[in-house]
C-alpha cells in the first residue's frame, strides 16, 4: 500500500524529490496459516456477533410493536383494518422483548465478565431463541392461531439455529417450536385456553375458520414444513462446517510444517557453526603465524579463506537470528523497559569504525525515550537499520539517526541515508528473506538479504510498526514506531540502559 509521506516528519538534508512512503504490514495482517486457537476465537466472535444481531433485530420488533400499539388504538385505523383493540398485549410483548434484550445483549453481559466464552455465547443464543419462541407462541395466540402465515415466523429461528448450532441442537430448537405451537393449538382445540383473534370475524387478514380435520392438516403440514426446512438447512450447514473444519485442519498442518521447517533450519544452521568454527580457527592459526611463515601466495590463499569465513559467519548469524525470531519453541523473551536513546548511542559507537571506513557522517539526534521489549530484539533492530544504512550509502554521505516522541505519543526511531534508494514497486518486497533489489546486488553483492527480514521480525516482537520512505538515487528513511510505554511502567529509570 503506497501512502503519501507523513506531513511534519523530519527529512532535513534527506531525499528531496518524490519520496514514496510504504507502511510495512505486520505478520498478523498477512494471510498466513490461522492457528486453531485463532479459528476457535473467530467462531466465538461470529457467534457473539450473531447474538448481538439477534438483539438488534429484537429492538426493531419492539419498536414495531410499540408503533402498532399506538396506531391500532386510533378508531379510524381500527374501522379500516377490522382490528380489535390489541395495544395491551402489544405493549406487554414489547416489554418482555425489551427485558430479554437487557438480559441477553452481549455488551451488557460483558460488563460483569470481561469477555464471553464460546460456551456462554452459545447459552446466550439459546436463551434468546427460547424467549423468542415463547413470545412468538403467545403472539400467535393473541393474533389468532388460525392465521395462515404466522406459524412460518418460527422458521426464522429454526433456520438460524441450523446456522449457529450443530444439527442435534437445531433439531432441539425445531422440536421446541413444534411443541409450543402444537401445545397452543391443542390447548385451544380442547378449550384449555380461549381462542383469540385480533380481527373481528373473518375480516381483515384472517382466513375463514375451517373444520377440525382441515385445521389438523393445516397444523401438521405447517410443522412438517418446519422439519423439512430444518433437514435441508442443517444439511447445508453441516457441509459448510465440514469445509470449515477441513480449513482449520489444513491451517494447523501448515503451521506445523512451517514450525518444523523453522526448527530444521535452526538445527541445520547451528550444525554448520561447529565445522565452520574449526575452519575459521585453523585459517586464523595460519594467518597469525602460529604455524610459521607463509609464502606470499599461500598467505593470499588463506586470506581469501578468512574473508569468506567472515562473510559466512555473518550469514550464519543472520540465519540463526531469523530462525530464532520465527521459532515458536523460543522461550518468551523478557519484556523490559529499554532506553532507546542509550541503545542508539551504544550502537552508534559500535558502528563508528564501519562508518569511518565507508566515509559516512553519522548525525545522532536522540531524545530520552523508552520502549518495552527484549533487549536482544531492540539490538537486532538497531543494528540492522544501521548496517543497512552503511551498506547502501554512497561514500561521503550522511546517515541521520533520531529518536523521540511523535505528537500522538508514539516513540519513533528513524534512520535516514543518502544512499541508492529503493524503487517504489520494490518497497513491498524488501522485507522478504533473501530478496534484494538489482541496485543493492550491484552495490553490495555479498549481502545475505536477510537484514530487513530480521528487522521486520524484530519490530514485530517489539510490537512496533515500520514505515519506509524512499526515492531512488536520493536515499531512504526507515521509521519505526513503538507503542507508548504505559505510565505505570515508565518509572524513574529503565530496566536496561
Amino acid at each position: 500500500m503506497l501512502l503519501d509521506s507523513l506531513a511534519g516528519e523530519r527529512m532535513e538534508n534527506g531525499p528531496q524529490c518524490d519520496p514514496v512512503s510504504y507502511d510495512v504490514p505486520l505478520n498478523g495482517d498477512e494471510s498466513g496459516p490461522l492457528d486453531p486457537a485463532a479459528s476457535e476465537e473467530l467462531a466465538r466472535e461470529l457467534l457473539e456477533a450473531n447474538a448481538l444481531w439477534f438483539c438488534r433485530l429484537r429492538w426493531i420488533v419492539v419498536a414495531t410493536f410499540l408503533a402498532l400499539g399506538g396506531v391500532v388504538d386510533i378508531p379510524a385505523v381500527r374501522n379500516w383494518t377490522g382490528l380489535r383493540p390489541l395495544s395491551a398485549w402489544l405493549f406487554l410483548t414489547a416489554g418482555v422483548l425489551t427485558l430479554a434484550n437487557l438480559m441477553f445483549h452481549p455488551s451488557l453481559v460483558q460488563r460483569t465478565s470481561c469477555r464471553l466464552s464460546r460456551r456462554r455465547v452459545e447459552l446466550n443464543l439459546w436463551g434468546q431463541i427460547l424467549v423468542d419462541l415463547t413470545v412468538l407462541t403467545a403472539a400467535i395466540h393473541f393474533v389468532g392461531a388460525g392465521i395462515v402465515w404466522l406459524p412460518f415466523v418460527y422458521l426464522f429461528h429454526i433456520i438460524l439455529a441450523c446456522i449457529f448450532f450443530r444439527s442435534s441442537l437445531s433439531l432441539g430448537v425445531t422440536f421446541c417450536a413444534a411443541g409450543l405451537y402444537l401445545g397452543l393449538r391443542l390447548a385451544e382445540a380442547y378449550g384449555l385456553v380461549e381462542s383469540q383473534s385480533v380481527f373481528d370475524g373473518v375480516s381483515g387478514f384472517g382466513a375463514p375458520d375451517p373444520c377440525v380435520f382441515a385445521r389438523g392438516i393445516n397444523v401438521a403440514g405447517t410443522v412438517l414444513v418446519w422439519f423439512v426446512a430444518w433437514g435441508l438447512v442443517s444439511h447445508l450447514a453441516r457441509l459448510v462446517r465440514s469445509g470449515e473444519r477441513r480449513l482449520v485442519e489444513t491451517n494447523a498442518q501448515l503451521r506445523r510444517a512451517q514450525q518444523e521447517r523453522t526448527e530444521h533450519m535452526l538445527r541445520t544452521t547451528h550444525e554448520l557453526k561447529s565445522p565452520f568454527a574449526a575452519i575459521s580457527a585453523n585459517a586464523q592459526l595460519l594467518l597469525k603465524g602460529y604455524c610459521g611463515d607463509l609464502t606470499p601466495k599461500a598467505r593470499g590463499v588463506i586470506e581469501k579463506i578468512a574473508v569468506r569465513c567472515e562473510r559466512l559467519a555473518h550469514e550464519i548469524q543472520e540465519m540463526l537470528q531469523l530462525a530464532n525470531l520465527n521459532s515458536a519453541a523460543q522461550a518468551p523473551p523478557p519484556d523490559k523497559t529499554l532506553a532507546l536513546d542509550a541503545a542508539l548511542r551504544r550502537a552508534a559507537a559500535q558502528f563508528e569504525p564501519l562508518f569511518r571506513e565507508r566515509e559516512l557522517k553519522l548525525d545522532l539526534s536522540v531524545e530520552p525515550v523508552q520502549v518495552r521489549g527484549a533487549p536482544g530484539h531492540l539490538q537486532m533492530l538497531i543494528q540492522n537499520l544501521l548496517s543497512n544504512a552503511a551498506a547502501y550509502s554512497k561514500p561521503g554521505g550522511r546517515v541521520g539517526v533520531a529518536c523521540g516522541l511523535t505528537p500522538d505519543g508514539e516513540v519513533f526511531l528513524s534512520v535516514t541515508d543518502e544512499g541508492i534508494g529503493i524503487p517504489a514497486a520494490k518497497l513491498p518486497l524488501i522485507f522478504d528473506a533473501h530478496y534484494r533489489t538489482d541496485e543493492a546486488v550491484r552495490l553490495n553483492p555479498y549481502s545475505s538479504g536477510l537484514g530487513l527480514a530480521i528487522l521486520k521480525e524484530a519490530a514485530q516482537c517489539l510490537r512496533a510498526r515500520i514505515q519506509v520512505q524512499s526515492a531512488p538515487g536520493k536515499g531512504t528513511t526507515f521509521r519505526v514506531y513503538f507503542p507508548a510505554v504505559p505510565v505505570d511502567v515508565r518509572w524513574n529509570g529503565p530496566d536496561v540502559a
Binding site: 557453526k273 580457527a281 602460529y290 569465513c309
Partner: protein
Amino acid sequence: MAYILMVEDDLDFTEAVATVLGADNHEVQIVSEPAKVIPLMKERRPDLVILDVMFPEDPSGGFRLARKIHNSQPSLQSVPILLLTAVNARFPLGFSAEDIDDAWLPAADFLEKPVDFDVLREKVTGLLEKSVE
C-alpha cells in the same frame, strides 16, 4: 603460565585453540567427554575450564557439567568457566532462555563460535587475572 582444561569434542577446533593458548605459555589439556572432567579436576586443579555446551550424547552436557563443577568440592567451585560454544543466547535447543541466566548457570564468561583468537586470548587473560585475585 596457567593450566587450562578444555572440554570440547571437535578436535580440529580444540587443537587450534590449544596451539594459540600454548603459544601464550599456557598448558592446555583437552578432554572430549564431560564425564571425565571432574575426576581430572580432582587430580589437578585447573586455573580455567573452557567448556563447550553441546556434546553428541547430551545436547546440553556443558550446562550440566558447569553446574556439577559449581556443586563439587570447594576448591573446584572457584575455578572460572568460559563457555565457548556454537550455542548462542537465543538458541532454543532443549533449554530455555533462562538456562543461560548468570545466576542459574555458573559460568564466568561466554564466547560464541566461530571465535576471533585475539578476543579469546583477551578473555582468557582477563579470567586468569581475576582468578589469581
